[in-house]
């Protein structure tokens, strides 16, 4: 384990004493320490332009009483900074005369990933050679490929959480990501394709020859398909989503609106719907932070709570929200292991981990056959949601026009929109082919980015498509 205090003017005992003095008369809080390194190597335009090696080191001190949070963070881990942070927390929370201190936490010994350093799995030279090989492999596929960007990002993030009474929780969170994006050009038309692989397992689990070729092939397939794409239709129609990454539908349309902070703030469209039937019988949605090795998985969340499987919607009925310690306390629930933060510069908040929908009974072929006019979405892009109105959107990278149950031609330039409470009632068919994504999701909320996982079986849903053909 890292010793955060080795090179400072602080001993661990002194730190624990300051934490106790600051937090024992608050409801909750902790000192969060982070020491992480990451390396990014990018090949673009046929050359390695730059490599980048970063070290992030710092602490965030948090005190919470009732629904008020005081947070201070700095990259100077020393006595003066810690004492200043303590004063600052006391100043914000000084008006509270009573408190209910609670430092109990659900611990775990489970290891969902091993303690390894993906940066050192290969030498820099080996990684550069690999990217050059990848570039050659892709460009040899077609002379219409005009640009290839290939990158390898690896990270080793050590965190330690110290609560009152000297309680210490720590984790090493490795993360590897291999990404490809490419541009093809035919006549005056540019098309794009992108794909990636990654997660918390060893470097070789994602960047072996089989895997990197698969990532390249998929990015190429997407870009090539759009070379002959026609204008996407516009208007409300049946949409068949393929399995896997289309889980971004759940993430945006439902996931965010089931985060606990929007429950206690009563701003989620679903805040008064717990126990009610909000969707069709066939819909069960799960957020599960403790799947082995996945990009969205964590041994402990960023408050030290163990992660777990949370069934959010079961057979169409809203069961629960996802909580951090604060939203759990304010809504009289137990924490669900969803308290996450991007790094020491942020206080934690309820976030998703790996979010997916359970299998249904249909096949994708049945769904496509049942559509008179609509689109089949082959590769979704990213999305966003307004949790208050429930409106969401996402971009479509690749789709096909469906007419009379048949795939007619690729279409481009579509956005899909809808509203969460409506769309969950309009999921008509669910496939028996649940797949989790390939490990490239990043979710943003209030300026904080965290890695997440997604998954969904193929499904058929009525939505509005934003093409340019009226």
């Amino acid at each position: 384990m890292n010793d955060f205090f080795k090179k400072t003017d602080l001993t661990r005992n002194e730190v624990e004493k300051i934490i106790d003095e600051t937090l024992l008369n608050k409801d909750d809080g902790e000192l969060y320490l982070q020491n992480s390194i990451n390396e990014n190597i990018i090949l673009d335009d046929g050359k390695i332009k730059n490599t980048n090696f970063n070290k992030t080191y710092g602490m965030g001190f948090r005190g919470v009483t009732e629904d008020v949070t005081a947070y201070c963070h700095t990259n100077s881990i020393d006595k003066n900074s810690l004492i200043d942070a303590s004063k600052n927390i006391n100043s914000t929370l000084k008006s509270f005369k009573s408190y209910k201190h609670n430092n109990s936490i659900r611990k775990t010994n489970e290891k969902l990933y091993s303690d390894h350093n993906p940066i050192e799995a290969k030498t820099l030279k080996e990684k550069i050679n690999l990217l050059n090989t990848v570039d050659q492999y892709l460009r040899s596929k077609s002379n219409l490929i005009k640009q290839v960007t290939a990158s390898i990002s690896t990270e080793k993030k050590n965190i330690e959480i110290i609560k009152t009474g000297g309680m210490t929780l720590s984790d090493n969170q490795p993360l590897t990501s291999f990404k490809i994006s490419l541009i093809m050009k035919k006549g005056s038309k540019n098309t794009q394709g992108s794909y990636a692989a990654g997660g918390r397992m060893t470097f070789d689990s994602y960047v072996n020859e089989n895997n990197w070729k698969h990532v390249c092939d998929e990015a190429f397939r997407q870009a090539e398909m759009n070379l002959d794409a026609i204008k996407a239709p516009a208007g409300e129609m049946d949409v068949v989503l393929n399995n896997g990454w289309s889980g971004v539908l759940l993430h945006e349309a439902l996931g965010h609106t089931l985060e606990g902070d929007f429950l206690y703030k009563k701003t989620s469209v679903f805040h008064d719907q717990i126990g009610n039937k909000i969707g069709n019988e066939n819909i069960t949605v799960v957020d599960e932070g403790n799947i082995s090795g996945r990009r969205g998985s964590l041994n402990i969340d960023d408050e030290g709570e163990k992660t777990q499987r949370n069934v959010l919607i079961e057979n169409g009925k809203l069961i629960k929200f996802m909580h951090d310690r604060l939203s759990a306390k304010l809504t009289k629930n137990t924490p669900t292991g969803n308290g996450r933060r991007q790094n020491y510069m942020f206080a934690p908040m309820p976030r998703m981990t790996n979010t997916f929908m359970m299998n249904g009974k249909n096949t994708r072929e049945e769904m496509i056959k049942s559509v008179k006019k609509g689109i089949y979405v082959d590769a979704l892009g990213g999305g966003s949601v307004d949790i208050v109105s429930g409106q969401f959107n996402f971009g479509v990278n690749n789709a096909w026009l469906i007419e009379n149950g048949k795939l007619i031609a690729p279409v481009e330039g579509a956005t899909l929109i809808g509203s969460g409470p409506e769309v969950i009632k309009k999921i008509e068919m669910i496939g028996n082919d649940l797949k989790l994504d390939n490990g490239f999701g990043t979710c943003g909320k209030s300026g904080q980015l965290v890695p997440v996982g997604l998954g969904i079986p193929s499904c058929k849903v009525l939505m509005t498509v934003g093409g340019s053909k009226a």
Binding site: N190, S389, S419, G466
Partner: protein, 440 residues
């Protein structure tokens, strides 16, 4: 306390000397200290406070035409030495890239004018709370505002030094005060709608009055209530200023040096060609006094001056740093940090005149998703707005806009109501034809 110039300079100079001693042939460094204090209020009650004090170092080392970089926030001598050694070690492993180099010395900024980018006044957390209470009092006095989603006031002060092994050593202090409120509106029998308003200024005294902030946001949220759905059709579109600025965002992405050099822009063949109607002029002026977006030089130290991007509808300049300028066989125009205060010159029509273009049209008040793709030139996003027909209007939501970015550029008519609020600024803009609304 914000670190003073001398202290940052000492770190920068140490890094350059250590790099050169470690056999780097060239080196550039940025050392920056940012201290910010934020208070959030929600429903007239404090929700949280946040204090941030970060000192960071960015170093790029060159070994002839090889380049690598490192960033770190753990700044003692031992770690700095380790990071520099590691960076140079990595640099040596890279292939030569002939376009890697420090900026041309003759382009570096000298004798920089004071652009009034630092206000030494401070506002205590107590005063911030008083301001935010006034904001929320004003907002919640509107009976359709059901609650607030949070209001915040942030004070941020920074000081930085950039330096390189060619003798560059320059930097300045900056300040930014910003206030924000996010409101939820609700009417009996309707769903909730939210909207926000914010302001951000270099000088504390210039920040928007709290009442105005609360009232402006309330108006925006309330006008979204009881939305209807709309049908699929081709119809004239008007973008409000906070949306029309995205036209300049997508242009700036399409005319960046990297997208030209890499051939990834849908405009890559359009330099010195007409891309807008001939009455359209677009300017970037980095030297506007007191603007939070101003910069006398870019992050490489190259001086930035006022420049036309588009003149009489013709694309005159792309956005260049040293690296991409060399690939394109040009000189850097001091835009390694991107555009600063970019704007469309105002058009000739009043705001009201724009609405006379047809019997019906849609005013776009909010968008979701990305405003176009600068590689494919495709345009598609989710939108919220007001449907105008026969002298009346009603809110609509949950529809899409689709078309080509070129359709927006070619069919744009600007109002005369330009103001400077963002880094990219555009008057209210009418798109007469070319966009398709996707609804039921």
């Amino acid at each position: 306390m914000l670190k003073e110039k001398k202290e940052l300079e000492n770190i920068a100079v140490y890094c350059i000397e250590a790099s050169i001693k470690n056999t780097a042939t060239n080196c550039e460094v940025k050392v920056e200290n940012i201290i910010s204090e934020t208070v959030n209020l929600r429903n007239k009650k404090i929700e949280n406070s946040d204090r941030s004090d970060i000192l960071s170092v960015d170093i790029a080392t060159y070994v002839n035409k090889k380049k690598s970089s490192t960033q770190f926030t753990y700044i003692d001598k031992e770690n700095t030495n380790i990071m520099i050694e590691k960076c140079i070690e990595a640099t040596k492993l890279l292939p030569d890239n002939k376009f890697n180099s420090l900026p041309d010395k003759k382009l570096l900024a000298k004798n920089v004018d004071d652009l009034l980018l630092f206000d030494k006044s401070t506002i205590s957390n107590e005063k911030k709370l008083e301001y935010l209470k006034e904001v929320e009092d004003a907002a919640l006095s509107n009976e359709l505002i059901y609650q607030t989603n949070g209001s915040s006031f942030k004070q941020s002060k920074s000081n930085f030094i950039i330096a390189n092994s060619d003798g560059l050593l320059s930097g300045y202090k900056k300040s930014e005060f910003s206030s924000f409120t996010d409101l939820v509106a609700k009417k009996n029998g309707s769903g909730m709608e939210r909207d926000y308003y914010y302001d951000s200024k270099t000088y504390l005294e210039d920040i928007i009055k709290p009442k105005d902030l609360g009232n402006n946001a309330a108006k925006l949220a309330v006008r979204k209530l009881n939305p209807k759905k709309t049908k699929t059709e081709s119809i004239p579109i008007i973008f409000e200023k906070r949306i029309s600025k995205n036209i300049l965002e997508i242009l700036s992405s399409a005319i960046s040096g990297s997208s030209f050099a890499r051939g990834s822009s849908f405009l890559r063949k359009k330099l010195n060609s007409k891309i807008f109607p001939k009455n359209i002029n677009i300017i970037d002026d980095p030297l506007i006094k007191k603007s939070i977006y101003s910069m006398p030089f870019d992050k490489e130290g190259v001086k930035s001056e006022k420049m036309y991007l588009v003149k009489n509808g013709i694309l005159e300049n792309v956005i260049l740093d040293t690296y991409y300028a060399k690939i394109l066989n040009k000189e850097s125009n001091g835009r390694a940090s991107g555009l600063s205060n970019a704007f469309f010159e105002p058009g000739g029509k009043s705001y009201d005149d724009l609405f006379d273009c047809g019997k019906k049209l849609i005013l776009i008040t909010d968008i979701m998703g990305t405003f176009g793709n600068s590689t494919t030139g495709e345009f598609s996003c989710g939108a919220t707005g007001l449907y105008y027909e026969q002298d009346s209007f009603y809110p609509i939501n949950n529809f899409t806009l689709g078309g080509k970015i070129e359709d927006i550029f070619n069919n744009i008519v600007l109002a005369d109501d330009l103001d400077f609020k963002y880094s990219k600024n555009c008057p209210t803009a009418l798109i007469t034809e070319g966009l398709v609304v996707g609804g039921y």
